[in-house]
């Protein structure tokens, strides 16, 4: 599902001034043209870099969710072909679309954002530059792939130009760049890099004349490491969110659903272990209450060891019951279904009109039996017996607040989720808790 995304920039004014500077003061020879190849790349990276420093995640998320599609109208010129006159004559038309040419496409299936023909039009002799940016779709957290390996300080176009002439890969402003050894932060350790120490370059702050010392990696590495950690955190939090949702639903059912004790077993407890009689009792109760079955029957087939499966209610239970279920008369394990592929992943098998879905987080009442054994709650539910009601217009939110360095405030980042929903029984007659102990 392609989605367009637009990046805007606040560097247009700078580029306009810079281009005028080039046109008025520089003789654009082929030598300069070669330098502009580098310059073009530099400005491309610089363009991205400006986005990175301004809360990358918030911007990308905002762009994904709210930007309008925008046509890439960047001009593409072959290397060295235009003349100075051409540059002079067309400078206005070249720059007009500048803040609209950062248009790419996010492919949400491959989780890659590609900037094709991303042209930073400085003058007419510049080639187009391609680069890419990857976005993790599942977490809405962006990950920079190939990105700028250095950060430039915009002291002035003239200085940048000089650095290019001398084939300097990055602009160093006196003491603004230092190499120090520092301990990796937690995010970096989690990213699988050197767990103890690494070389960190201190860079001058972006775009400003202030000279701050940063005890972190260069921008690209830093962002990559943090986002790798965030991607992993997002995955884990997603699992946690759904597990929490299940647990709340489980607890709601345990708190309020009426129950039937298994009584036909022989373990001498109350309730007893589960038997076919008990299954028939609860199925009969659901049928008497006009509960719809959830799953259709599975037709019999001419296969050895298989048996047809009735249309069924769900029975949600603990994995501790797996062995006891095997021993119940009439139990059909899911691998004995005529079409095993129709079985659900968590399904264990069926007994009569119940298909058992097991979970390690299944409900259990500690010492709930007469003899003090744990009682396992088997929630037998018909169609639409309970539901999760979303509140306040949303179900769940992934929240990330990045750390802000170089100051005593807001040093701690936070990442997590919150959701506002309540589980509830929609018809109490369609959900019955069949309680059982182990044999």
């Amino acid at each position: 599902m392609p989605t367009r995304i637009k990046f805007t920039t606040n560097f247009q004014t700078f580029f306009t001034n810079f281009n005028s500077f080039c046109v008025r003061n520089c003789v654009l020879t082929n030598f300069i043209g070669k330098c502009f190849s580098k310059l073009n790349h530099v400005f491309t990276m610089l363009f991205f870099d400006g986005q990175v420093w301004k809360n990358l995640f918030a911007k990308i998320k905002k762009s994904v969710s709210s930007c309008d599609p925008c046509i890439n109208r960047a001009f593409i010129f072959s290397f060295g072909s235009p003349s100075i006159a051409c540059g002079i004559n067309s400078i206005k038309c070249i720059h007009n679309p500048f803040n609209k040419n950062g248009v790419g496409i996010i492919n949400l299936e491959t989780a890659t954002m590609m900037f094709s023909d991303f042209s930073i039009v400085i003058s007419s002799c510049l080639p187009n530059v391609k680069t890419s940016l990857s976005v993790n779709n599942s977490s809405h957290v962006s990950q920079i792939g190939r990105f700028v390996n250095f950060s430039y300080k915009l002291v002035g176009a003239f200085v940048i130009l000089l650095s290019l002439f001398f084939h300097v890969n990055s602009f160093h402003s006196n003491d603004s760049v230092k190499t120090i050894h520092c301990k990796l932060n937690r995010a970096e350790r989690l990213s699988g890099l050197d767990p103890s120490y690494g070389v960190c370059e201190s860079l001058s702050s972006r775009g400003n004349l202030e000279r701050e010392i940063r005890r972190v990696f260069p921008a690209s590495n830093e962002v990559t490491k943090v986002t790798e950690c965030l991607n992993e955190a997002a995955k884990r939090l997603g699992v946690s969110l759904r597990a929490t949702e299940d647990q709340l639903t489980r607890d709601m059912l345990a708190a309020t659903a009426s129950f039937i004790n298994c009584t036909a077993g022989v373990n001498g407890d109350n309730p007893t272990e589960i038997t076919r009689t008990d299954v028939d009792t609860v199925v009969r109760a659901l049928l008497n209450n006009d509960a719809y079955t959830i799953l259709d029957n599975i037709e019999g087939d001419d296969k050895f060891g298989t048996a047809p499966v009735r249309d069924a209610y769900f029975a949600l239970a603990s994995t501790q019951l797996s062995g006891n279920l095997d021993a119940v008369v009439g139990f059909v394990h899911k691998n004995q279904y005529p079409a095993p592929k129709d079985a659900l992943r968590s399904e264990w098998g069926s007994i009569g009109n119940l298909r058992f879905l097991l979970s390690s987080a299944g409900s259990m009442t500690a010492s709930g039996s007469n003899l003090g054994a744990n009682v396992y709650n088997i929630f037998c539910v018909g169609m639409e017996a309970f539901a999760c009601i979303e509140q306040d217009g949303y179900s769940a939110q992934f929240i990330y607040r990045p750390p802000i360095y170089d100051g005593p405030l807001a040093l701690n980042c936070s990442v997590g989720y919150k959701f506002a929903e309540v589980p509830r029984i929609t018809n109490d007659l369609w959900v019955i808790n069949l309680r059982a102990t182990l044999a």
Binding site: L248, D251, M252, A254, A255, T256, A257, S258, F259, I260, N261, C262, T263, G265, D269, N270, P271, T272, A366, S367, G368, S369, N370, L371, G372, V375, I389, V422, P423, R424, I425, D428
Partner: protein, 334 residues
């Protein structure tokens, strides 16, 4: 202790029972001061308690009057002083495992009204606690059921099953304290009695928390006799907190009498009252639903005390009437 990380503070007047304090976030340390004891000179009276993560649940460093003066000595609740151990600070998470340790010291359950259990010690209990009875010889029908205890009878060695019907006496057995109710309110409850009347009065074994107007449904198995009540839905028209009953708009006058099963009836399904319904009621501008949609979970801590005066004197929860202030917060580990 970094006081600038404080997240909560407050005060209360002790009623002689454990004080549960819910906080917005988990805590790493708790400090408690008993202003009443500080002002007094009662020997062995605790004045200050401090607990932080890493200390045992229920423990705390405590200051106390070592003599009948303002002189202060220091100990911990676990070590104690004057030959007594005391109750300090307990972390609370109502969504965690709610079951306490099993106690197999019950020696008798009487046929009184209500029944009274005799055991070795009720030190870890308080009136109003919920207890799960287990494997009572001669009273197997009580096994696995929860009861509110101690409001009728509560001594060092006995507690009453407050809202239970009369039974044939039992002998030995076990019990476990249930620290937390099920997470969602209102909750299903065991039924111990139903009257045969124009408006049936239903007695529940655990403090019910229901209110007038809520709709409920009854599950009354054959073992209880009043099978006509099974599956019926009614609206609560009156409640009694003293007797832990609800009155419903169901005419049970012609129903078979309700009879709690005998020990020989085991196994059977228990009689239940469950919250149901879609009806809503406007209370103070908000809509309340009849069925269980209210998550009552919380985190916080408990300041323990005891019905035994000597223990309450040095416990963080204090004695009845004590003015107590507390401070709790989060800290960074260093």
């Amino acid at each position: 202790m970094a006081y600038n990380t404080c997240i909560n503070q407050g005060y209360f007047t002790s009623d002689g029972t454990d004080e549960i304090i819910q906080v917005r976030s988990d805590v790493d340390w708790v400090k408690v001061v008993n202003l009443t004891n500080i002002a007094g000179t009662t020997q062995w009276a605790g004045t200050e308690w401090y607990w932080q993560r890493g200390m045992a649940d229920g423990d705390a460093v405590t200051n106390y009057h070592a003599a009948g003066t303002q002189a202060i000595s220091t100990s911990t609740c676990a070590i104690g002083y004057n030959g007594v151990t005391y109750r300090g600070v307990y972390l609370m998470d109502s969504s965690s495992d709610p079951v306490g340790a099993i106690d197999a010291t019950i020696t008798a359950v009487s046929n009184a009204a209500p029944p009274v259990a005799t055991l070795t010690s009720t030190e870890t209990l308080q009136p109003g606690d919920i207890v799960r009875m287990i494997n009572i010889t001669g009273a197997q029908q009580l096994g696995g059921m929860d009861f509110t205890i101690g409001n009728g009878t509560f001594t060092d060695t006995t507690f009453s099953l407050d809202y239970m019907a009369t039974i044939i006496a039992g002998t030995t057995g076990s019990w476990r304290r249930i620290a937390f109710d099920p997470l969602y309110y209102p909750r299903k409850r065991f039924v111990s009695a139903i009257t045969a009347a124009a408006s049936a009065v239903v007695t529940l074994t655990v403090t019910h928390g229901y209110t007038i107007g809520q709709k409920v449904r009854f599950t009354i198995p054959a073992a209880y006799g009043m099978v006509q009540m099974d599956g019926l839905q009614g609206t609560i028209t009156a409640i009694s907190t003293a007797n832990n009953t609800v009155t419903v708009d169901i005419n049970s006058a012609a129903f078979t009498a309700f009879a709690f099963p005998l020990t020989a009836a085991v196994p059977f399904t228990h009689a239940l009252m469950t919250p149901v319904g879609e009806a809503t009621e406007i209370v103070a501008g908000k809509v309340t639903l009849d069925d269980a949609v209210y998550n009552t979970g919380y985190i916080g801590f408990k300041l323990g005390t005891s019905a035994t005066a000597a223990i309450a004197l040095g416990s963080a929860g204090g004695s009845n009437g004590d003015a107590i202030k507390w401070l709790a917060g989060k800290s960074f580990n260093v």
